[in-house]
């Protein structure tokens, strides 16, 4: 049992931290988030060309680096800490995971290969506008017409959906409900009948879109896995992405804690730094507790996710590990960001200071892929029903 980073993992973490400190400072985040695209092409090209992060956990046979989920999680933690604006979560944590879980060998070779070359961004769309984030959230439909599939319907909360080159969409056979009839399709975003609309968001550092499909025709080779049996693969993909998102939340927790400690250690009132008051120290102690507990949750979940992709006995725990991590990290991040804002006082309320960027990210990531209450209910169903 070695529940610590290996030297190599530690090195990846440190490289990510120092690179992001350089390229994703406050000014860079604010530039990117002010644009509709939501990221700077030059930075994404550097990430793909120099750092090769988009290929981190893609197998070498598909042109990837062949590293594991622990490395991916270590990197997501740093991205959350620095609020990196890039189509990484959508392309790697959503789409590449979907391809790894559900794609055929040919589909993987083609699309993962292009992702690894940095030529393609991608995302996953399945939620028609529900807070349930499960099979019931899928409202788009498909029907068979001769050799083709015809897709209709709407998606909301699609991360980077307005910019992604490739869409992986879930739809259900007309007339089905629940987990029945669900299929996954690969769809180039310029396919006729695909309409994409950027949705302006409170958290400007992560872009969301609405997608509408009107009589979109795709051929049989666009289907991922067996038609009508797509739900288990999609559920697994969502769990994997949920773990990556929780890791991003932990990075945000750490950054809020560090910023709050630094600020209160400078700010003087009544002739002493406000960090010397127990009211502040005890809040900070609770923030550190939540951050470390959240970190323990995602490191374990990372090991589980790794075995879910590469094989191993922990794979059976994927759904539980995702819910344990996301429920704790979602609540912890928002509480920590809210406490940090309180500790900053008046300046924390300004647009100029960065605290609001994290408070907004905390709330947006809390609700993305299910909030704490939803994931606790998932756990409760297994325990109590």
């Amino acid at each position: 049992m070695e529940f610590v980073f290996t030297q190599e993992q530690e090195m990846i973490r440190e490289t990510a931290a120092s690179f992001l400190a350089e390229v994703s400072d406050s000014a860079a985040v604010r530039r990117a988030m002010a644009s509709e695209q939501g990221y700077e092409t030059a930075l994404w090209d550097r990430i793909c060309g120099e750092m090769y992060w988009q290929a981190i956990h893609v197998p070498e046979s598909c042109g990837g680096m062949g590293l594991g989920y622990v490395e991916l999680v270590a990197m997501m933690e740093q991205m959350g800490r620095h609020l990196l604006c890039a189509p990484f979560f959508s392309t790697v944590c959503l789409a590449a995971n979907a391809l790894r879980v559900a794609g055929s060998e040919e589909q993987q070779a083609q699309w993962l290969g292009q992702i690894c070359e940095g030529k393609l961004t991608a995302t996953l769309a399945f939620n028609g506008g529900s807070s349930s984030w499960d099979a019931q959230a899928i409202t788009a439909t498909w029907r068979r017409e001769a050799d083709a599939y015809v897709l209709n319907g709407e998606y909301r909360y699609v991360i980077d959906g307005h910019t992604a080159d490739l869409l992986i969409v879930a739809a259900r056979a007309e007339g089905t409900a629940g987990e029945q009839g669900i299929s996954l399709f690969l769809l180039k975003s310029e396919t006729p009948g695909v309409s994409r609309q950027w949705l302006p968001t409170m958290d400007q550092a992560r872009k969301q879109a609405a997608i509408e499909l009107t009589e979109v025709r795709v051929s049989a080779d666009a289907v991922m896995g067996l038609p009508e049996q797509g739900w288990p693969a999609l559920a697994k993909t969502i769990d994997l992405a949920t773990i990556a998102l929780a890791a991003e939340q932990v990075g945000g927790c750490q950054q809020m804690l560090d910023m709050a400690v630094a600020y209160t250690s400078e700010r003087v009132q009544f002739n002493r730094t406000i960090a010397s008051y127990q009211a502040i120290k005890h809040k900070a102690a609770d923030m550190m507790l939540k951050t470390e507990v959240a970190r323990s949750a995602i490191y374990y979940a990372a090991c589980v996710a790794h075995e879910a992709l590469e094989g191993g006995p922990l794979a059976l725990e994927l759904s539980e590990a995702a819910s344990v991590a996301k429920s704790y990290c979602s609540d912890a991040y928002f509480e920590i960001a809210a406490d940090a804002l309180q500790m900053f006082g008046g300046v924390g309320f300004t647009w100029e200071y960065d605290v609001h960027l994290y408070l907004k990210r905390a709330k947006s990531s809390e609700h993305l892929l299910g909030n704490g209450a939803l994931h606790r209910e998932r756990l409760a169903r297994v325990l109590l029903d």
């Binding site: 070695e2 610590v4 010397s276 550190m288 470390e292 323990s296």
Partner: protein, 400 residues
């Protein structure tokens, strides 16, 4: 990161499990799930015999080095032992203070004579220990101990006078380790000594404290020129604080994983109750049970991080270790409240009169102690802020 146990470890698990199943039989059957915190007063004599039964099987002091009579188990094997021990429902250990605290302290700081004199009785499960730290005016401010130790050169013995309080199992123990002031002029953490004292002597009186549960496991211990052999001071006179703090480090060892298995047993009982009385359908109760479940899982992962991590070369605790006491104590206290809320109005009704508590009622009341002893939650937050985050230390009060 690697989380799996080796085939040898799994074989060890089977060995532990089958030994416990084979031996927790007959007279010992009634000890299952008994004698944990809040339940220490039950079956003390039978649990002493059980301690010796464990020793016969070689299952005491499993983590100690073989040269001191231990089993020399790896960390993985210790984790497995404590997990299986709790899973089987084997009783709360009456020997845990000797095994977990006295022994490691003597191995680290003691003389060879002290080790030879005291370790075999701990390994054999025949000699029990208690801990003499807190005093009426030395609670959170532990360094404020007033108990005095003076050396009587004529008799060649230390004489100890003063009062200790909150001493668990003092009434069952053969020995007590005590921090006392060797330099009467000293203040705070200077001028203290760490003593090993036999309990069965005229200078010691033990008075049980009746607790919130109506039962007693804590005691007051009064020392009136209690004798201690010259060779039974650990470290030099004046080194007591260093030894005492070293000992506190041993409290965060692998046995915390066994503690968590006991928490799991309690949570399982809460889940059982909720399913049988319909509380499991209440959406608020569902959220609270799921939260307790998730956090207990994470508590285990956090302990695995502590066990896998390397402590700093300066002996500083890693961050995940610094937060551990505050995390588990707060979690456990909430579990007590949850248990009563799951039971609803039935939570009031006792097993029998005059004050016979059920296991969950007893747990609910006893866990109020968890956020107080071993460093209150408030002290824990000071420690986390100061050592973990480098925030300013609390100002010292003016000397009185």
């Amino acid at each position: 990161m690697k989380l799996s146990f080796s085939p040898e470890d799994e074989q060890f698990r089977a060995e532990v499990s089958s030994w416990l199943q084979d031996n927790l039989q007959g007279d010992f059957e009634k000890l299952r799930y008994r004698g944990g915190p809040g339940d220490e007063h039950t079956f003390p004599e039978e649990r002493k015999v059980w301690e010796q039964k464990l020793a016969e099987g070689g299952w005491t002091c499993v983590g100690w080095p073989k040269e001191y009579g231990g089993r020399g188990c790896s960390i993985e094997q210790q984790v497995i032992f404590f997990e299986e021990y709790a899973r089987t429902g084997a009783p709360g250990r009456v020997g845990h203070i000797g095994e977990g605290l006295t022994g490691p302290t003597l191995i680290a700081f003691g003389t060879q004579e002290q080790r030879e004199k005291y370790l075999p009785g701990i390994v054999a499960g025949t000699e029990l220990w208690c801990q003499g730290y807190s005093e009426p005016s030395a609670g959170s401010d532990l360094a404020n101990v007033k108990t005095k130790a003076r050396f009587d050169a004529a008799r060649g013995k230390w004489l100890i006078s003063g009062q200790k309080v909150w001493t668990s199992l003092a009434h069952e123990s053969d020995y007590c380790f005590v921090i006392a002031r060797t330099d009467p002029e000293s203040v705070a953490h200077k001028g203290l000594g760490f003593f090993l004292i036999a309990m069965d002597q005229p200078g010691i009186e033990v008075r049980p404290i009746v607790q919130i549960t109506g039962t007693s496991e804590f005691n007051e211990v009064f020392f009136d020129d209690a004798e201690c052999d010259a060779g039974d001071i650990v470290g030099a006179a004046g080194d007591g604080w260093k030894v005492a703090m070293g000992l506190l480090g041993f409290e965060r060892g692998v046995s915390t994983l066994g503690q968590q298995m006991q928490f799991q047993n309690e949570l399982d009982e809460v889940v059982r109750q909720a399913r049988s009385n319909g509380a499991a359908k209440d959406p608020v109760i569902r959220q609270r049970i799921a939260r307790a479940h998730a956090e207990l899982k994470i508590m285990r992962y956090n302990s695995m991080r502590i066990l896998s991590g390397q402590s700093g070369s300066d002996g500083a605790l890693q961050k995940e270790a610094l937060i551990y006491k505050l995390f588990w104590s707060t979690w456990h206290r909430s579990l007590g409240e949850l248990a009563m809320d799951v039971l609803g109005p039935e939570c009031e009704i006792l097993e029998s009169g005059p004050y016979e508590l059920s296991r969950l009622q007893s747990m609910y009341l006893f866990v109020r102690a968890d956020t107080i002893y071993g460093g209150t939650n408030q002290i824990q937050r000071n420690i986390i802020a100061e050592r973990g985050l480098g925030m300013p230390r609390e100002p010292k009060g003016a000397a009185q």
